[in-house]
């Protein structure tokens, strides 16, 4: 499976935010998007996911399997927001996303153990700290299988240990043949990681 972007351009409210972005990612590769605030990292990720219309160019998946023919079907999108309900417990939230997204991978408790939240799954999501909420949202990536991860500042609010644990998770995802596109300043420690610097000049 390949994720290909050609001459991709994005806009917000009629204003061009970026243009001429191109990359090609094979299975197991990662793309790290960096750039100052306002350079269009989030817009790029939302455009790739298909949540924003493309201003120009194309982004597509080639050679996707039958289960994941399009980007929308193959993507785990982790935005700034955690997409969890504060009134429900962490377990209920994760169980819902596991059922809704399908293609179950890890069990809910297993996923919580993996992100270091084992034993507090019964708590309402609203009671968790910022970092814990982010970790619960990361657990959401693990409960259903998707080959393509689009991550927007995934480590915002995480402590050092959790950052390292998450870098390990991304590396493992790539090693298993997944593709990661992340807007992050975290060194991934991956050999095949490409870098995309966005800025005024891009």
């Amino acid at each position: 499976m390949r994720l290909i972007a050609e001459n991709l351009g994005g806009e917000r409210g009629g204003e061009t935010v970026f243009s001429g972005i191109g990359f090609a990612l094979e299975n197991g590769q990662a793309l790290v998007v960096t750039g100052p605030n306002g350079s269009g990292k989030s817009t790029l990720l939302r455009t790739i996911a298909g949540l924003l219309p493309r201003a120009e160019g194309d982004v597509r998946i080639e050679g996707g399997s039958e289960t994941f023919p399009t980007i929308a079907s193959a993507v785990h999108y982790l935005g700034h927001l955690n997409a969890m309900k504060t009134a429900l417990s962490v377990m209920e939230n994760l169980r819902f996303w596991r059922d809704f997204n399908g293609d179950g991978q890890l069990g809910v408790e297993e996923a919580l153990e993996t992100v270091g939240l084992g034993g507090i799954g019964y708590l309402p999501f609203g009671y968790l700290s910022t970092g814990q909420r982010r970790r619960a949202a990361i657990a959401k990536l693990l409960v259903s299988h998707r080959p393509l991860w689009l991550l927007d500042e995934p480590t915002a609010g995480l402590d050092k240990a959790s950052e390292e644990r998450f870098a390990g998770l991304m590396a493992r995802h790539c090693a298993e043949g997944g593709i990661v596109v992340a807007a992050t300043h975290l060194p991934l420690g991956l050999d095949g990681a490409q870098a995309l610097a966005m800025g005024e000049a891009a």
């Binding site: 996911a49 298909g50 949540l51 079907s73 700034h80 969890m84 309900k85 209920e92 819902f96 059922d99």
Partner: protein, 221 residues
């Protein structure tokens, strides 16, 4: 899909959910009517079905703005829209509507017979009104979903949704009330308006979610 239904039902009955708000508003409206109209029992019984319907209609509109906005604020809406390839978005919207109806509107239907007593209505009239509410209120939710989807990005969209949706709900109100009257006033028919009401609900069950899905797909930013 079943899990989405269960999630929304759970949210509506937990803290911050809107399940009781509508019922309390409904109660407040109906309880004040006899004071305003005066102690004319015959008049109250005569306007009872109409007042119950208007009260229920307004109470239905009350919680509609949260239908998609709550999901948008925490980012869930993005993921529901992205899930389009697995679960058609219109179907997702339909399930959300059904959950909203079961969580927030069904309590109104259940409370209607009790509030009918406030209006000095006869048992048959109360039964007919409750039945027409049961059949007719889903239509209001389906229209409301389209309005809620259009206004999802607006921070104070509640009033706008009501203004957008209210004119479209008038046919539902007319046929609901005329069927309720048809059951008690002898020359008036019951079956015809009741069947049209049922047809409206079925028709809007298709049109509303499709329109809402279209608005949501183009409303992400």
């Amino acid at each position: 899909m079943w899990s989405l239904f269960l999630r929304d039902i759970r949210l509506s009955i937990r803290a911050g959910g809107g399940a009781l708000t509508g019922v309390i508003f409904f109660l407040a409206v109906i309880a004040t009517i006899p004071f305003g109209v005066g102690p004319d029992l015959k008049l109250l019984a005569r306007i009872g079905p109409a007042i119950l319907w208007i009260g229920a209609l307004l109470a239905c509109l009350l919680g509609l703005d949260r239908l998609f906005q709550a999901d948008r604020e925490d980012g869930s809406l993005d993921l529901l829209v992205l899930g389009n390839d697995r679960h058609m978005l219109a179907l997702t919207v339909l399930v959300k509507c059904l959950a909203h109806w079961a969580g927030s509107v069904l309590p109104l239907v259940v409370a209607a017979p009790l509030l009918g007593l406030f209006m000095n209505m006869e048992p048959l009239s109360i039964g007919a009104t409750a039945l027409t509410l049961l059949i007719g209120t889903p239509a209001i939710t389906f229209i409301g979903a389209a309005g809620a989807a259009v206004a999802v990005a607006l921070p104070r969209g509640g009033l706008l949704i009501s203004v957008l949706v209210l004119p479209l709900t008038i046919p539902v109100l007319i046929f609901g009330v005329s069927a309720s009257y048809g059951a008690v006033a002898d020359p008036d028919p019951f079956a015809q308006p009741f069947l049209i009401l049922a047809a409206l609900t079925l028709f809007l069950a298709v049109l509303g979610p499709v329109a809402a899905a279209l608005a949501l797909r183009h409303g992400t930013d």
